[in-house]
């Protein structure tokens, strides 16, 4: 019940007029960028990182959290009406949601996704409030060896386990490692990977990397694909009110989606793709209206995955706040915002920065209320945003991208790096390399290195710390299973399927 006291205190922080304004600003901005294709929360928060030099930490994290949650709400609108998932987490929403919109039930699809997001977001935030203190108690016993092993596990899960190919995921991750090491090594003062250029001594800013990969890369990619078919906006038809039957079909899906999304998000693996796909599969199996799936669109197929998506977004905050372990690109950029305040997220955060943490959690509840209002009665406003023509939209994104990048140090070198990363980002899109592991790798690799050195210093250079501590050994074993397990499983499956009657090319 300690948590309730903390929460009450948190609300007293979040309910000040100034912080409410930041929350409103964040959720509005978040919904807008969620709706607009080509803009995501990771890019937006990266561009707004300079705000950390201007305002109190509470204010900027309330703003960032509003953007983070808002983008989830906004993204579903685009998926439903445009069939272009703004983010990988809303791919599944587009499957049924767009079909519903085409058969004239777009209003109900938007309603079930907004209310489902609210239910899942609120339950997920409650989950954060009650789970985080438990994880904190557990994490206090972690030593540097455990932290290092935990980061290794996170590296494997975010790059190798999720996504379509572990080799490509790991390639992205290692590219992030290289970028993360550029600059002066903090422990020894030696410059690394600077190629003799003094401009690189300070390292490459996460803003440049995020903007290069997400904004410039995306723009080049969209330009390269102008021959690809364009998606049409389905005009919004149908009442936003759900019928009793639709409510009855939605609420169970919301709860099941939440139950799937939050735990998977809270694991040091993160990622909203798996829970949304799982939720879709489960809803399809349990539904009494199977004939609607893939034809006119089934409401459960929107309600479940949307809830799973928002609950896992909340879940990601647990390892982020309690362990300092970001498992999504957005969380990694938020971690760098903590660093810019000189705050280290981790178990101590809940003691030293109670105002910040509980104010942030309380503001997430408020954000959910604001978002459901912004996204239902005001939906028409956001639909209009979808009509911004692509040329001006992408050109505008790049204007903001360059101002954000050039503002860091007023050096054209940053703009050169930005363009190079943009080219890399475009190539990665075309050849199916995930981009999030780059950001996570560049932020987390230096932290992993610091923990590794600390562990080795304590053990006097004895490597056995990593496998003699039971917890560390468990984490490393899990990481190894995550890396090798899926391949062995696939191999066994192939052997099993490839019986004597194997038809060539059938696999």
């Amino acid at each position: 019940m300690e948590t309730l006291g903390h929460l009450a205190h948190g609300f007293s922080v979040a309910f000040t007029p100034v912080n409410l304004m930041w929350c409103l600003l964040g959720t509005t901005l978040g919904t807008a960028i969620g709706v607009l294709p080509g803009l995501g929360p990771a890019l937006t928060i990266a561009l707004l990182l300079p705000i950390t030099y201007q305002v109190a930490p509470e204010a900027s994290f309330i703003l960032f959290a509003g953007i983070y949650y808002g983008a989830m709400y906004g993204g579903s609108t685009t998926s439903i009406l445009l069939n272009t998932p703004g983010e990988s987490a809303t791919i599944v929403t587009a499957l049924e949601g767009n079909r519903m919109a085409r058969s004239g039930r777009g209003g109900a699809a938007l309603a079930t996704s907004a209310i489902g997001s609210f239910v899942a977001g609120t339950l997920g935030t409650l989950g954060v409030a009650f789970l985080a203190p438990v994880v904190v108690k557990f994490a206090l016993s972690f030593g540097p060896a455990e932290y290092f092993s935990l980061m290794v596990l996170a590296f494997i899960t975010v790059s190798a386990v999720l996504g379509s190919s572990s080799v490509r995921g790991l390639t992205s991750l290692f590219a992030g490692f290289v970028i993360g090491m550029i600059g002066v090594d903090l422990q020894t003062g030696q410059p690394r990977f600077t190629f003799g250029m003094s401009q690189l001594l300070d390292g490459v800013d996460v803003i440049v990397v995020a903007v290069g990969l997400f904004a410039v890369g995306e723009t080049l990619y969209m330009a390269s694909r102008r021959y690809a078919g364009k998606d049409e906006i389905v005009p919004l038809r149908g009442s936003l009110y759900m019928t009793a039957a639709e409510w009855a079909r939605s609420w169970k899906a919301w709860l099941r989606g939440t139950l799937l999304g939050f735990p998977i998000g809270a694991l040091p693996a993160g990622g909203a793709e798996i829970p949304t796909f799982l939720s879709y599969a489960i809803e399809k199996k349990l539904s009494k209206h199977k004939e609607e799936f893939g034809t006119v669109g089934a409401i459960e197929g929107v309600a479940g995955p949307e809830a799973a998506n928002n609950a896992s977004a909340a879940g990601v905050l647990v390892p982020m706040l309690t362990l300092g372990l970001p498992t999504s690109a957005t969380a990694a950029i938020m971690l760098s915002a903590f660093q810019s305040y000189g705050i280290n997220p981790g178990p101590m955060l809940f003691m030293t920065q109670a105002n910040l943490v509980w104010g942030l959690i309380a503001s997430l509840f408020i954000a959910n209320v604001i978002l459901v209002i912004l996204n239902l009665p005001l939906i028409g406003l956001w639909v209009r945003l979808l009509k911004i023509p692509a040329p001006q939209l992408y050109a505008g994104i790049l204007v903001f991208a360059t101002v954000g990048t050039y503002g860091i140090s007023q050096s054209p070198t940053d703009l050169v790096i930005l363009s190079l990363l943009g080219a890399a980002g475009c190539l990665m899109r075309r050849f199916d390399f995930p981009t999030a592991p780059v950001i996570i790798g560049m932020i987390l690799w230096p932290l992993a290195e610091a923990q590794f050195r600390r562990a080795m210093t304590i053990s006097n250079g004895d490597w056995s710390v990593f496998y003699k501590h039971p917890l560390s050994l468990t984490l490393l074993t899990l990481a190894f299973i995550g890396l090798v397990g899926p391949h062995i499983y696939a191999y066994v499956e192939r052997r099993r399927l490839r019986g004597p009657e194997h038809v060539p090319g059938d696999a």
């Binding site: 390639t171 030696q190 690394r192 410039v216 001006q392 903001f400 954000g404 503002g407």
Partner: protein, 178 residues
């Protein structure tokens, strides 16, 4: 990556994917070169500044070999991407816009360079109304400039346009205060 293709018709070598693999191998080489040039003080004999770079180098080498093998077995680019022809012209114009921006931002200032980039990118994406784009670009660039420079306190190199407007804005603020 399906290794089961081996038994099907002999897979063809995928050139773009092969180039990516070789490029990554070259990157691993660059990492090795840069790692070797890190001076290691004997004081840090335990975990010096080169341990993690070496781990990265080994990892990248292994991964690039795996990617090259995958390329030799037919590559991995999704069908949908393969079938979409690349619009090199549009991409080229956008790239010219980016380069123009980074070359011009110091001599002309942020706003002018941004407007040029904005118009070029719009053109690349197929917009054929340059005058309207100039106007839109100017509004957006000024909004971005003042949003960042004044609200976020980011110092962006000011050119002629910004200086004039800053003077005007400061005098307005001064007048309002009085």
């Amino acid at each position: 990556m399906s290794t089961s293709d081996q038994q099907a018709a002999r897979p063809r070598l995928a050139v773009p994917e092969l180039l990516i693999g070789i490029g990554l191998l070259a990157c691993a080489g660059a990492v090795a070169w840069q790692t070797l040039s890190i001076p290691v003080s004997p004081l840090y004999s335990k975990v010096g500044p080169t341990v993690f770079p070496y781990i990265t180098m080994v990892g990248m080498t292994v991964l690039s070999v795996l990617l090259i093998v995958a390329a030799l077995r037919g590559g991995w680019q999704p069908e949908e991407e393969k079938e979409t022809p690349t619009d090199w012209k549009a991409m080229g114009i956008v790239a010219v816009g980016l380069v123009a921006n980074l070359v011009l931002i110091q001599p002309l200032g942020f706003t002018a360079a941004s407007v040029i980039m904005f118009v070029l990118i719009c053109h690349g994406f197929g917009s054929r109304r340059p005058l309207r784009d100039v106007l839109l670009g100017l509004i957006l660039a000024l909004a971005a400039y003042f949003g960042f420079a004044r609200a976020l306190g980011v110092n962006i190199g000011a050119g002629f346009i910004e200086n004039q407007l800053n003077t005007v804005l400061d005098s307005i603020i001064r007048m309002l205060r009085v």
